[in-house]
């Protein structure tokens, strides 16, 4: 009885949480539902949540005619290389900052994390484009990949260093006695031990690469065939026939949401722990 009473007392809590569940979920649900509407229905019966008839054609046409096939391919390309690159860059940097003993290591570390306070976001887009122009990478997604991987995300650096600090030093000392070099310890011992770290950093970098807009946008401004999904959707919106292509835009939006949400449902633990561990270090 006491058990039941306890839960009865929590009913207001559940009600509030359910309300916010609906608020969080509704816009996404609405997007998916609208993506099955014909363009006519989007423009005239926006007030109906469930489409009068489900039009799968939107997806087929968006995929073939509105170039979402290319956009999706570009997004996968961008996300793949950003994830692989970031996994290596953050484990390598985390390992060096955790284990190396050379002079000036601390200074370099603080130099790197100090950039958190001078990050200017959108303001540095133009200079970044100009820097990449020197290497002739200003018109391809490779430029974005290189900036994202070598520009080092401070959050990932924090997470990686923290994780590798928690790996017992005895393990690599034993390897050292067996004649393993510094780099050898990294790829024989530390890297294989870093699976949870790789999952966290990989998922975080997938999220930011998949959702990234401004940087890939300025790098693909002149060539729509190189645009990733999010950029492509906005390109469609700003192009002249925006009103007649809302159905493509919604189908494209759904296409961009599906992989993200699937991965989130599968790995939400890593998402939540990863996004918080770097930020709240007081």
């Amino acid at each position: 009885m006491a058990h039941i009473k306890k839960y009865l007392g929590e009913i207001p809590v559940y009600l509030v949480l359910c309300l916010f569940f609906v608020i969080s979920f509704f816009p996404v649900f609405y997007t998916f539902m609208s993506s099955f509407k014909s363009n006519m229905d989007i423009l005239t019966t926006g007030n109906l949540l469930i489409p009068k008839e489900f039009v799968v054609d939107n997806y087929v046409k968006a995929w073939q005619l509105a170039d979402f096939k290319t956009y999706t391919g570009n997004s996968i390309f961008l996300a793949f290389f950003c994830v692989v690159g970031t996994v290596f860059s953050s484990t390598i940097c985390g390992y060096v900052f955790s284990r190396a003993a050379f002079k000036g290591k601390e200074i370099i570390f603080y130099f790197m994390i100090s950039s958190m306070f001078v990050s200017l976001g959108t303001l540095t887009l133009y200079p970044l484009l100009m820097i990449m122009k020197v290497f002739h990478l200003n018109k391809s997604l490779w430029g974005v990949v290189i900036i994202r991987v070598f520009g080092m995300n401070v959050t990932n650096l924090f997470i990686a260093r923290g994780f590798i600090n928690s790996v017992p030093k005895e393990i690599d000392e034993a390897a050292k006695i067996d004649g393993c070099s510094f780099a050898g310890i990294y790829y024989r011992i530390i890297f294989p031990l870093c699976k949870p770290l790789i999952a966290t950093v990989g998922i975080l970098s997938f999220r930011s690469a998949w959702n990234d807009y401004m940087l890939p946008m300025v790098f693909t401004m002149t060539d729509p065939r190189r645009m990733p999904l999010v950029v492509g959707i906005m390109h469609l919106k700003s192009s002249g026939d925006a009103a007649s292509s809302w159905n493509f835009m919604l189908a494209g939006t759904a296409i961009s949401l599906i992989p993200m949400i699937t991965i989130y449902i599968m790995f939400n633990r890593y998402f939540i722990s990863g996004m918080t561990s770097g930020a709240v270090k007081g």
Partner: protein
Amino acid sequence: MMTQGDKAANKHMKSDNVQAMLMIAPFLIGFILFGYVPIIYILRYAFTDFGGFGECKFTGIANFVRIIKRDPDFWQSLLNAFLLAAGKLAVEIPLALGLAVLLNRKIRGMNFFRVTLFLPSIISAVIIGLIFSLLFASHNGMINAILMNAGLIAKPINWFNTKWKAMFILGLASVWQNYGINMIFFLMALQSIPQELYDCASIDGAKGIKGFFYVIFPVIAPIFQSILLVAIVGSLKICDLVIACTNGQPGGTTEVVMTYIYKSFFGKSGRNIEVGYASAMSLVTAVFLGLVTVVYLRATKKLKEIV
């Protein structure tokens, strides 16, 4: 005298250090190239009339004079960013804290709510901007339909035809995007508090909201300070969401500082490409952002000292 063994160990250590430096070098170079060189670039062009192509002339402080004297739109966009940040954080932070307190209860189903309430935080800001512009569309938007069915309004509201209505939607979209992550931050802070403290609070009769502010809040105050700083700076730098949702419409009145400067750099929305002038505006904005951080840290010093 070093023994043979010491020498070998020494040599070993040296080669280890060389390896470590070689491993970090590419990232350090990339870091300087992409983190600091852009700042030098901006500093260099802020005092010129560079237009993106061809020659550029040193113009001294002319750009800054223009910002101060002849560009009310820039100040308007800066003010908009501040207003938007203040308005949305006034809702978002208490909301996130309240939800975190609810989620911190040890009852069934909390993990489900934690995962679902966090969902908006994984979606691209651009997609969120698009979804909200559609939800609030005037003649075929879902929100107008709901309000009309509920009998709250007689005819559809055009949400995007005045500045304040459009700003309201931007704020709403931004709260929707970010409350989940701040909620999780607060939840982490709450979970780091030992159970004994909650017990003590309830023994002393400090229950409910009063108990929270007297006993629990002081403990999480330092973390609260960092979360709020991250939220403030993040909100002031809002960009993607605005571009996707209103793109400065109606008539450039919802332009925020980041979109305004971006458009000057790249000559968007009918503006000329003015790299020099945009660099100068970037510098001014950077100074403002820095000032906000400094003032904030001073003003909230107390939060850190409580514990």
